[in-house]
């Protein structure tokens, strides 16, 4: 076992060697521009892209013509939100999303507001799931788009996508989902789930960074988005720019591998994740954040009360994990996702996200359990809050000097 151990697979994943192998020829021998229609160099590159388009489409039950390649999910999210608003603003100016979305969605929505759009940011329930009644109440005749993420990046909860898209369609709105954390991890099917637009990324599924895709439905209804970059009119005019051929080939291969291995992999990871979780919640005052039934197989977000997340991560220096603690960001604000579950700030500060992946072993999970337990216990010995808790002092009764 090599240290440090990587358990931050929601941030990014290592590239699968099989993906790298598929990409390599497209850097030199097959270097052509996929848009060069009049010589073999271009044709070879285009063939690679076409094949990748089929691989990506197959993983999400789409047709290849519905896949628009982008530089990643942030671009896909931006293109979907802003592109739909610009295309359909004559029909209506209202977009609905949730407070736990990725910043790429939230900030694109804020941009739309500056352009005169109206956006409703729906709260989520304590378990992180959207309340379908709240969604239905928020729908209006002006609603053109509902955008709800498939699986959450911080807590891993899976939204009731089929039900959400049905409500959107009932009121004549399109349904968009940021499915970055879900695609390749659990079965996603654009027709079964009623998805009109879907963002995905290669580097979360063992592919390269800097490439992703936007699925845009072509039939029932035919969806269009206004391009956000002007140029050569690539990707059916929706996304100009010379195609990143090696990256796209890598994304395709990554999708193919996920399609083949996802089912067995999800089983393996959920067993590991459950073991990690049950071993750590043996510790007093530790809590799992988010719904535990509707959840991605590889994520566990746990709060260890009376211990601060960044301090904890420093003790677990051989584990690469992530924390919702304020101290990990320059803003000093704890995770907005955890806060929107109704978690108090101190619990949000005390959270650690474990993200398992394709290359995580049982031995590594055992090690992670040991180190985490030891570190939490050590830091509680240093914690004045733990001492007060043990003495039975109600921390809420103290007048804290906020600084």
């Amino acid at each position: 076992m090599n240290l440090p151990i990587y358990l931050d697979n929601n941030a990014t994943t290592p590239m699968d060697p099989r993906v790298l192998e598929a990409m390599l020829p497209y850097f030199n021998e097959k270097f052509g521009n996929a848009a060069s229609r009049n010589h073999p160099f271009g044709w070879v590159a285009e063939e690679g892209v076409d094949y990748a388009r089929e691989q990506v489409a197959k993983l999400i039950g789409a047709s290849d013509k519905e896949i628009i390649f982008t530089s990643g999910a942030t671009e896909s999210d931006n293109l979907a939100i802003k592109g739909v608003f610009e295309m359909y603003k004559e029909k209506g100016n209202h977009i609905i999303t949730t407070v736990t979305e990725h910043k790429a969605i939230l900030d694109a929505c804020k941009h739309v507001e500056k352009l005169g759009g109206k956006v409703t940011y729906l709260p989520v329930k304590e378990d992180g799931l959207l309340d379908l009644e709240e969604l239905e109440k928020a729908m209006t005749n002006d609603t053109i788009l509902v955008s709800v993420m498939y699986g959450n990046n911080e807590i891993g909860v899976i939204q009731p996508i089929k039900e959400i898209s049905a409500i959107a369609h009932k009121y004549g709105a399109l349904f968009m989902t940021d499915a970055v954390q879900a695609v390749g991890k659990i079965p996603v099917d654009v027709n079964r789930d009623g998805i009109d637009l879907l963002a995905l990324s290669a580097h979360k599924i063992y592919g390269p960074k800097g490439v992703g895709a936007l699925y845009v439905r072509r039939k029932g209804p035919r969806v269009k988005v206004t391009a956000q970059m002007d140029g050569g009119g690539h990707e059916r005019g929706m996304r100009s720019g010379t195609l990143n051929v090696p990256g796209i080939v890598g994304l395709g291969k990554a999708c193919e591998l996920c399609g083949l291995e996802m089912e067995s992999e999800a089983k393996r990871l959920s067993v590991m994740r459950d073991r990690l979780q049950s071993s750590l919640t043996v510790l007093e005052e530790s809590y799992v954040n988010g719904n535990v039934e509707h959840r991605l197989p590889h994520v566990a977000n746990i709060s260890f009360k009376y211990v601060e997340g960044e301090g904890l991560m420093m003790a677990m220096k051989d584990l690469a994990v992530s924390s919702g603690s304020a101290c990990t960001s320059a803003s000093l604000e704890p995770s907005y996702v955890l806060k929107s579950l109704g978690l108090s700030d101190d619990l949000a500060h005390s959270s650690i996200r474990f993200g398992l992946g394709r290359f995580t072993t049982d031995e590594e999970v055992d090690y992670a359990i040991e180190v985490t337990k030891k570190s939490v216990t050590h830091l509680r010995e240093l914690s004045p809050l733990w001492e007060m808790f043990k003495e039975g002092i109600d921390l809420d009764s103290i007048e804290w000097a906020e600084h």
Binding site: E308, E310, G311, S344, D345, H349, L382, P384, L385, E387
Partner: protein, 137 residues
Amino acid sequence: MAYSEKVIDHYTNPRNVGTLDKSNHKVGTGLVGAPECGDVMRLQIQVDDNNMITDAKFKTFGCGSAIASSSLATEWLKGKSIDDAMKIDNMDIVEELALPPVKIHCSVLAEDAIKAAINDYRVKNGMAPIESEKVHH
């Protein structure tokens, strides 16, 4: 962001972790910060009849820099008079631990904890608390 060697040293081997009897009139206790902000420091001093600090203890809920700042503070307090201890400046801590700008608030909190502990001792022993003129933030 990488931590400095001194922060890692204090974090890994924190000095003077513990609790003094806060009901003892020769013990001053400072509890600063708030759980919501992700930092709470408790710093305690034991003072002798000549107003010299003979012992100091801390417990801190916070990031590595907050733990290191309070650990360092206890080291500096021991053997100082309460008047000299009052002069410890947060920037001395920043310099000693090579804290980056985003962690300066940890040193501010440590300075606040020192002053709060001294004032607690002063009030307990019939002296007026010393108002800090310095304004942080």
